[in-house]
Amino acid sequence: MRILRKTTDQLAISETELLALTADMEERHRETLPKMHAAVAEYIEGDGAAERSRVSRRGFLAGGGIVVVGGALLAACGSSSIKSATATTMASGSGSSAPVDVQAGAMAASLENLAVFAYGAGISAATAGKLGTIPPAVVTFATTAKTQHQDHADAWNAIVTGAGYQKVTTTDPALTSTVQSDFAQVKDAGGLAKLALTLEEIAAATYLNAIGVLSSKQAISTAATIQPVEMQHAAILNFVLGTYPVPNAFAMTTGARPVTDYSVKKA
């Protein structure tokens, strides 16, 4: 990876200070995880247990819905716009018999997996020198955001598996091919930031939409604690791209993925 190094007349002191702040930040981030795990555990003991019981009773009747299998990404092909791909799936639904909170959790996990993939691919491409010179701030952003998206995916998967369904290891099938196609066009840090911004906006919109349809307090809390973080990612990406970082007084649901658009499979 070709990373710009600061010159000595630029922030000779600040880098140290900022690194110290980052260490504090990482520590705080890690402190949040036990709380989230506890919240998920509460769900599993409550609504999740009830759902597992329900699933068990009617297990042999189930089998409808499309099951997405395997962890591999779909082959690159399809349209050139992620948002248009999102729009074309708005009317679709899985027809799954899973409770809406589980379906939403699976949908969210698949979106988070997609973000992890995109940031991972970006970091790999940058490391291989395929994206030109990458500023250090962009590297730090991508690395940290990827970690946080993995944490989000884990939180949703805990809810999904706690309710008696299979862990979601795939990326959102409706968007994956488009993201791959768009990623193939990325040539520099700016292109990577634009792609990431689109994914962050879709994730934030999906969570905002989900908050209006989720039923359990734990699922709503999970979505509510993640949506602002995706919004923060978007703010920093807007700043990186030279766009005003807080463009709207109210978050929007434009581009949201339908919460029922991922077929989750019973364990």
Binding site: T22, T140, T225, P228, V229, G242
Partner: protein
């Protein structure tokens, strides 16, 4: 100051257009809330005093049950969850109204604080960084809209509008203002207010009984988190004595690596600083 004023103006104009679109969505949600509120009043469902008493009883039962079980405390999550129940969880119309009024009070305080800050030469005057000034101006306007949205929601559920500032944090601001010496002091204060607002709304999102109150709050909490994010980045650059890097577009190659992640310190938004429902409610 390294900012293209014309370009920034265009960006803010675009932002205003997007904001108008978002306002439309919010207005639709509020219209739904009006209908629900009217229905409830017509059918006699809404009795704030009765609702409040029932909510209090339920909260107390929940608290005893949770503490008795000890499971949450053992998991290290007890305080946070009980904080949510204080908000309270599974609220009703009366507590929904209180939460909305408290939210409005936090917004009122934010508006007043940014307004005061903009009178300072290093925030809104000739010596101010252009991006910081634009941020303070735009953010103040956004908080004004948030306050209006929360008050409309409270009124449509049968409550009164809250036009006063949150008393707890008004005192904090009042104590801080005389000590302000430069932009960093203002940014530190703004981070505190924005964090309290964001965390309060995150906590409240799962506590409302009214779906549209939840939706309105959810549409605002992420925006406050974005304010926090930008303020954290600005704070770090000011602390690093690099105000010239607070610019749009930024000099990406000159930004230190840590600047890329300073704005989102947690994978999950916290609620430790969330204000209780009654803090800014109309008495």
């Amino acid at each position: 100051m390294s900012v293209d004023e014309h370009a920034l103006g265009e960006l803010i104009e675009q932002s205003a257009d997007l904001q108008a679109d978002a306002m439309h969505q919010s207005t639709e949600a509020l219209k739904e809330m009006v209908e629900v509120g009217h229905d409830r009043r017509r059918t006699g469902e809404l009795d704030p005093e009765q609702d409040m008493a029932a909510a209090t009883r339920r909260q107390e039962l929940m608290r005893k049950s949770l503490l008795g079980a000890g499971t949450l405390a053992a998991a290290g999550f007890g305080a946070a969850v009980l904080g949510l129940f204080d908000t309270p969880a599974f609220a009703d119309s009366a507590t929904d109204i209180q939460m909305l009024q408290t939210a409005a009070s936090l917004e009122n305080l934010a508006v007043a604080t940014y307004k005061t800050a903009l009178t300072l030469p290093f925030i809104g005057g000739s010596s101010a960084n252009g991006v910081v000034k634009a941020f303070a101006t735009t953010t103040m306007a956004q908080h004004t809209q948030h306050g209006q949205a929360f008050n409309a929601a409270a009124q449509q559920l049968g409550g009164k509008a809250q036009n006063a500032a949150d008393p707890k944090y008004a005192a904090v601001v009042q104590a801080a203002v005389p000590t302000i010496k430069g932009p960093s002091d203002v940014v530190r204060l703004a981070i505190k207010l924005e964090t309290v607002a964001a965390e309060t709304y995150v906590a409240n999102a799962s506590a409302y009984s009214d779906l549209n109150a939840r939706k309105v709050t959810a549409s605002i909490m992420g925006v406050e988190a974005q304010h926090v994010s930008i303020l954290l980045a600005v704070q770090a650059l000011l602390a690093a004595n690099a105000p010239q890097l607070i610019a749009l577009p930024p000099n990406l190659s000159a930004l230190p690596g840590a600047a890329g992640s300073i704005g989102f310190p947690n994978a999950f938004y916290q609620t430790d600083m969330a204000s209780p429902a009654t803090e800014g409610a109309v008495s």
